[in-house]
Amino acid sequence: MIPGKYRSVSGRAANNVEFKLNKETPSFSGRLLQHDLERNYSSRQGDHITLASSSMPSFPILQRSSEEKILYSDRLTLERQKLTVCPIIDGEEHLRLLNFQHNFITRIQNISNLQRLIFLDLYDNQIEEISGLSTLRSLRVLLLGKNRIKKISNLENLKSLDVLDLHGNQITKIENVGHLCDLRVLNLARNLLSHVDNLSGLDSLTELNLRHNQITFVRDVDNLPCLQRLFLSFNNISTFESVCCLADSSSLSDITFDGNPIAQESWYKHTILQNMTQLRQLDMKRVTEEERRMASVAAKKEEEKKRESHKQSLLKEKKRLTINNVARKWDLQQHRISSIAPNQDRKVSDCPQDPSQLRGSTVSAFPEETGSLDSGLTSALQGLSVTDTHLVEVDGDTLSLYGSGALESLDRNWSVQTAGMVTTVSFTFIEFDEIVQVLPKLKIKFPNSLHLKFKETNLVMLQQFNALAQLRRVDQLTVDPQGNPVVNFTLWKYYVLFRLSHFSMQKINGTEVTQNDMIMAERLFGILAHVASSELPQYRLISILGDARKKQFRYLLETKGKKPGLVNEENSDSKRLVGENTNRATLNYTTRDFYNERLEEIKEKKKFCKMYMEDLVKEATEINMKNEALQKLWPQMFIELVRDAVIEIRNKNSYMKLCLQQITDQK
């Protein structure tokens, strides 16, 4: 509403009322050089304006005194006049500067006649739509900040526009500005922009203010050949990729990103500096040479790290695939064993779901691809040998072996440091019988291994634990129920404690071993030990213990490089073998293959023995027969002998003669 004192008598033409115009309107050229156009306008009131109502019912008509008109012919200030509409401005066709700041104007109207207008200020009004400007072809500065504009439109004819200020509105999209080829400053701060594009055509744009929006990505900036300053503070930019076009803008020298998520990143500064080498100021601070240098160094490091982690993840993936492969082969192998030899005791309890899969081909050749050792990796977490059929991994203090091919890796030359650090050895997807054969090697190469873990290793018999007795020492034992049926037995832990009592184990499968456990183990199996030692005949004892020692020798001889040191090792070990609880030393485990081998070897001997015994028996029976025959015939023979003798001696004289004759005959 028009304030009372200025209201004229309704309906009549304006009368002349003196009024003064604001003398302190700052020159608009100076204003333009400042950063934030919002703060430029001093709040002033224009005094003494006459706003008479016109013939049209809603629009007041504005008139000035002729003095004023002459004094300030090109400028008119109507700040804080509580205007709700643009008044009709009569007779001011030379007006070049029009100021409507701080009013309540909702539509731009009634200024089409001011065709010389260069500067139009509608800051802080209630304008909802840009309109009514199509005749203002000379307009160079258009200030529409702090309104309610939702869309940039109807600027087609303002080809001379130099400054366009649309801050503080509700604009969601940059559009319809492509023809403003003289525009140097565009202020779209505090709007609702979510992205930046459609900037082509703004060939003179030097400064673009996009602060306080919701921008997530920026495009088209490289199409602005003159853009020097770009303000993106307080938006929603989080990656450099979303503003990557900035790198291609060679004119850009000043940029701000503060208040964006990207500014919180550790790589922010050097990424920006690295990618935008033309930059002179970042976030209102000069970019020094030092910073640039550090940025490039940091960027290189970042690159390196990325490559490294990429390599790591590739390696991890490969490892995972290998383990899957090994697992699959293991399953096949298990089914194969159970389908081909069903009368073997060593069956996996989770038995064949699909034995028909395998057509009984006994050839076991799983193609062994020799993996290439990736020697470029250092010794912290890595796979040292990754092939398709097995996997060996040293991870600080754990040596993990997957697949039976991995056992060969124990032959490798391990550095003393690596080997010394290993305290846990984990076996997965390997037959326990195969593991048994490499235990001596394990003892030598990894002397500090205290914790053994078995998973999917086909532990089916208590007896198999006997094999672990040959190790130097085991503190902890973990037998995963998966793939190890032996864990289903109620007594397995006690048996382990009993047989390996000389190790004084601390934990089995994660649970502490108590004194009671040890005593229970001793109670359950103590007699077995007693029987195994004291009730065995001496020669059996020696032969069993001797066997064990012989076996160890054999395993050791198979390793590469028979150093003399090894032999000494063996002697002390053999002493230790006796040093453990002797009464259970005879409880050994021979892998099935070796056992059968030995039985085969004995067959020859058995055959020989049988033959030998048969010969003896034949001899004995012959003698016996002869003896029996003699027994039968003897009475008769005896009688005949006696009878012959008696007959001979019947006639004494003739007998004497016979005897003498016999004697002479002999001579």
Binding site: N343, D345, S349, P447, M461, L462, Q463, R473, V486, N488, F489, T490, L491, S504, Q515, M518, I519, M520, E522, R523, L524, F525, G526, I527, L528, A529, H530, V531, A532, S533, S534, E535, L536, P537, Q538, Y539, R540, I542, S543, G546, R576, G579, N581, T582, N583, T586, L587, T590, Y595, L599, K605, K606, F608, C609, K610, Y612, M613, V617, N624, M625
Partner: protein
């Protein structure tokens, strides 16, 4: 010794009946295998030890299955050894599965076949739910029957199948009163009432079997006794009856009576000594654990003196003596 029957048999038969050759062959074989070790202390001593161990029943420890199975004496010795070693497991009250018992058997004989254990388990479990838990005494007695008389049982099974199949046309399947059956054995269930064969017929066939075959079979009189108490019976019912029959157990001579199964004072004494020693051992080891050796390990204890060998003529103080079977 010089009994007339002995002389009545021809040579080979006599030797075979006493399995003399088996032992001699085995002795010579053992000698060959351990030539170097045995030559140290003399062949004569070896033979002495060998045959002493045969008498004592310790010769079958950790031997291969073919040897253990070879003679009845071996089988009986094996049963006794199993009882001796694992009586403590039974005493502890643990119920184990068939596989676990098999494991224990394998501790004494590495290549013991699974089928035998399975068959023994079937006797206990009446061919039902083979993964059930069994008590030590049940399993042991059933195993005894199965192992000692394995060949006999196979023939019996064949006979039973024949009878079931109606080879004898006189077989009439009539449900009879259950009281007789249940007195001897655990309840068999509805279906088995119709199954099974007539006891008298069965008994007849078994008598013929025992006469015909030379290998060991239970004393015919006792078998008859088992069969005379019932009208009908199934195969497993018969086996269970056999396994629980005290007379047969005693005739076999390997295991003590069921009531005495857990008693073995001599071994218990020994066990106590072992437990005490292990306790001392452990505490002393813990004391010594303060000083780590190379690689951070505890120092090894000194060599323990091996257990002293019992003299050849040591006899068990336990009243139930182990006597070789006639």
């Amino acid at each position: 010794m010089l009994s007339p029957e002995r002389l009545a048999l021809p040579d080979y038969e006599y030797l075979a009946q006493r399995h003399v050759l088996t032992y001699m062959e085995d002795a010579v074989c053992q000698l060959l295998e351990n030539k170097e070790d045995i030559s140290q202390y003399g062949v004569a001593r070896f033979f002495t030890e060998y045959f002493n161990s045969v008498c004592q029943g310790t010769h079958i420890l950790f031997r291969e299955f073919s040897f253990i199975q070879a003679t009845p004496h071996n089988r009986a010795s094996f049963l006794r050894a199993f009882w001796k070693c694992f009586r403590t497991v039974g005493k502890n009250g643990d119920l184990l599965t068939m596989r676990e018992y098999h494991c224990l058997l394998q501790l004494l004989c590495p290549d013991f076949p699974l089928e035998l254990t399975q068959k023994a388990a079937r006797i206990v479990l009446m061919d039902d739910a083979m993964d059930c838990l069994m008590s030590f005494s049940d399993f042991l007695f059933a195993f005894q029957i199965q192992f000692y008389y394995s060949e006999f049982l196979e023939s019996v099974a064949a006979i039973y199948q024949d009878l079931l199949a109606g080879k004898n046309p006189n077989t009439v399947i009539v449900p009879t009163s259950s009281s007789g059956q249940h007195r001897q054995r655990p309840p068999l269930g509805e279906a088995s009432m119709l199954e099974g064969v007539e006891a008298s017929q069965f008994s007849q066939c078994l008598e013929n079997l025992c006469d015909r075959h030379k290998y060991s079979c239970p004393p015919p009189a006792l078998v008859k006794e088992v069969l005379s108490n019932v009208q009908r019976l199934t195969f497993y019912g018969f086996l269970v009856a056999l396994s629980k029959h005290h007379g047969i157990n005693q005739a076999l001579g390997a295991l003590p009576d069921k009531g005495d199964l857990m008693h073995d004072p001599a071994m218990d004494e020994e066990l106590e000594r072992l437990v005490v020693r292990s306790r001392l051992h452990r505490t002393s080891r813990q004391h010594r654990a303060e000083e780590p050796g190379a690689f951070g390990f505890q120092r090894r204890d000194k060599l323990e003196a091996p257990e002293s060998m019992p003299s050849a003529s040591a006899s068990s103080p336990y009243p139930y003596r182990w006597e070789p079977r006639e």
